[in-house]
């Protein structure tokens, strides 16, 4: 045991330790038993909760910071602050209606597949323009010199937002907004949303939380969407909890989600057009009674740890008893909930056996005896690409963090952001 008896000595020790850490953590190659050799590089650090990134072929990178705004990093390393949240200073322009609260704020971002000709980009953020407030998917035109955005058009303006606190874990305003924005190979725009701690939202045909929307770049429903009768036509799938990960299989084109579980069962699901993910946290159904503030999402025993399988039996992430045709998850994180966030597919020969595998970023929670689990998992599919064949934890060449976003870069590297404020580049090979 070591003791000190002075605050000034503590600071000295901390400073020396910090120096030691800096000296011992340059980018380096790693030869793990379970991974392609990886190098890492810090792309940006000191950010304010970086939430998502998007790339052009030349390496230009859009990125969002939850409470600050949208910026672009050019290939030469220059960063231009484009569109600020609220009155955040330093941005070329601001959305005075945008704000952050709890889990809400500026989230997903995407380039238009035809960006070279139309200069369009898409950003998802929380807005107080409506009352009650909503989450909105905004379309902008990015200037030729990448210094500003214009022509804001809110192509989706009605994704629910949690206005008031409730008696639940993470129960503050702003919970469960989903937030990922992605185009598939066919140019369809997908937006993922969350349940806002509202028991009615997931199975609602009209409230656009807990959905995966498939739309065009004006916000109109894709004509081939096939939700049940009475559903909003923008619905591709419904009955989700809080989808923050979506990626498209490079061979089948299938949309695949990665999703937070409640106190159990993170899930990966291959989506089916019109499918129900089977999340229904309403009270007084499926054998349940009343629940705190009419939301059973963390029940039973929401304030303490308990066996995860008992939890799952009480409040299923995918309730096959009530919805026998629900889309089956192909991975449930061994029954744990550890904060599974975004998803991407690795591309390129340099990734070796992992070329074409899915990666998911896991933020880590560590409640009630659950292992914290901060990591990036590599998910390899079977030959039919219909199920998970193998899962490997990526051996990281840097300290782990809250992996909010994983995105493939045009250079064949995997980029990942952590809530702590850093965007890393992970490159295979040594």
């Amino acid at each position: 045991m070591s003791h000190v008896t002075s605050f000034s000595a503590l600071r000295m020790g901390a400073a020396l330790l910090a120096g030691t850490a800096l000296l011992s953590s340059p980018a380096f190659a790693q030869n793990g038993m379970n991974t392609t050799s990886l190098q890492h590089e810090v792309v940006l650090e000191g950010l304010d909760n970086p939430w998502d990134m998007a790339f052009l072929a030349d390496g230009t990178m859009l990125f969002t910071e939850k409470c600050s705004g949208l910026s672009v990093r050019l290939p030469d390393g220059t960063v231009n602050a484009l569109y600020g949240v609220g009155e955040t200073e330093g941005y070329a322009s601001n959305g005075s209606d945008l704000f952050c609260e709890g889990q809400a704020g500026m989230m997903g971002v995407a380039f238009d597949p035809d960006f070279d000709s139309n200069r369009r980009i898409y950003v998802y953020s929380t807005s107080n323009m409506s009352d009650p407030h909503t989450n909105r998917l905004m379309r902008f035109t990015l200037s030729e010199d990448f210094t500003g955005v214009a022509d804001r058009t809110d192509i989706v303006d009605d994704v629910p937002y949690k206005m008031a606190a409730s008696n639940h874990p993470f129960g503050g305003p702003g919970a469960h907004n989903g937030g990922r924005v992605r185009f598939d190979a066919n140019g369809h725009l997908f937006l993922t949303t969350g349940d806002t701690h509202n028991g009615q939202v997931p199975q609602s045909p009209t409230m656009m939380g807990s959905k995966v929307l498939r739309i065009d770049t004006d916000g109109n429903a894709n004509a081939e969407n096939s939700p049940p009768d009475g559903f909003d036509a923008r619905t591709y799938t419904y009955g989700h909890r809080n989808v923050q990960g979506i990626a498209f299989h490079p061979e089948t084109g299938a949309a695949i989600t990665a999703e937070h579980g409640p106190w159990h069962s993170d899930e990966i699901t291959i989506l089916q057009n019109g499918g129900n993910a089977g999340w229904d946290p309403r009270p007084n159904m499926a054998g349940r009674g009343d629940c705190p503030d009419d939301y059973c999402g963390y029940s039973p025993n929401q304030e303490d740890g308990m066996n995860r399988y008992e939890r799952a039996a009480f409040m299923s992430m995918t309730d096959f008893d009530t919805y026998p045709d629900a889309m089956p998850p192909i991975w449930n994180n061994n029954g744990w909930s550890q904060g599974t966030s975004s998803a991407a597919f690795l591309e390129g020969d340099a990734w070796g056996d992992w070329d074409g595998a899915m990666v998911v970023g896991i933020m880590g929670i560590g409640f009630g005896g659950t292992p914290i689990g901060q990591r990036i998992d590599v998910i390899q599919f079977n030959d039919d690409n219909t199920d998970v064949e193998d899962v490997t934890e990526m051996t990281l060449p840097m300290e782990s963090g809250r992996f909010r976003s994983v995105v493939m870069g045009p250079d064949g590297s995997l980029y990942t952001s952590i809530d702590e404020g850093t965007i890393y580049k992970l490159t295979p090979g040594g």
Binding site: M1, S2, H3, V4, T5, S6, F7, S8, A9, L10, R11, M12, G13, A14, A15, L16, L17, A18, T20, N49, K66, G102, Q103, A165, H168, P169, F170, G171, G172, P173, G174, Q302, E303, D304, G305, M363, G364, I365, G366, F367, G368, I372, Q374, E399, G401, R402, R404, I418, D419, E420, G421
Partner: protein, 123 residues
């Protein structure tokens, strides 16, 4: 293991440095220092608690992340006060359930250690 050794060595060095500083000060200042340091701080124990219970949400440098607040800019007194409130089971924010589950395992000594560690280790 290496990191622990480094930590131990640094703490021993810092401990001697602190004592040397104290010996060099005049009696009044020495009395003042003594009055503000009421217990021996076990940094190794604090770091273990931090890595197990705090880091995943509040960040590796207690810088705050997502909806979990920054702690490194708080005083040890502030952190200790909040931990004791959480340990009592009282809810004082949207993430109280998480905090209560961690805080209820902490002894007075644990709280004293982790409060000083979080407030000073990442300066």
């Amino acid at each position: 293991m290496l990191r622990n050794c480094v930590l131990t060595m640094l703490m021993i060095i810092c401990g001697f440095a602190a004592r040397a500083d104290n010996h060099a000060t005049d009696a009044a200042a020495e009395d003042s220092d003594t009055s503000t340091v009421e217990h021996v701080v076990d940094l190794e124990a604090a770091e273990k608690i931090f890595r197990k219970s705090c880091r995943a949400c509040h960040g590796n440098k207690a810088q705050g992340a997502a909806s979990y607040p920054k702690l490194s800019d708080k005083t040890p007194e502030y952190i200790a006060e909040k931990l004791k409130i959480y340990r009592s089971g009282k809810k004082i924010g949207p993430n109280s359930i998480l905090m209560i589950s961690h805080a209820k395992k902490l002894s007075d000594e644990d709280i004293a250690n982790i409060s000083v560690y979080v407030a000073t280790a990442f300066d």
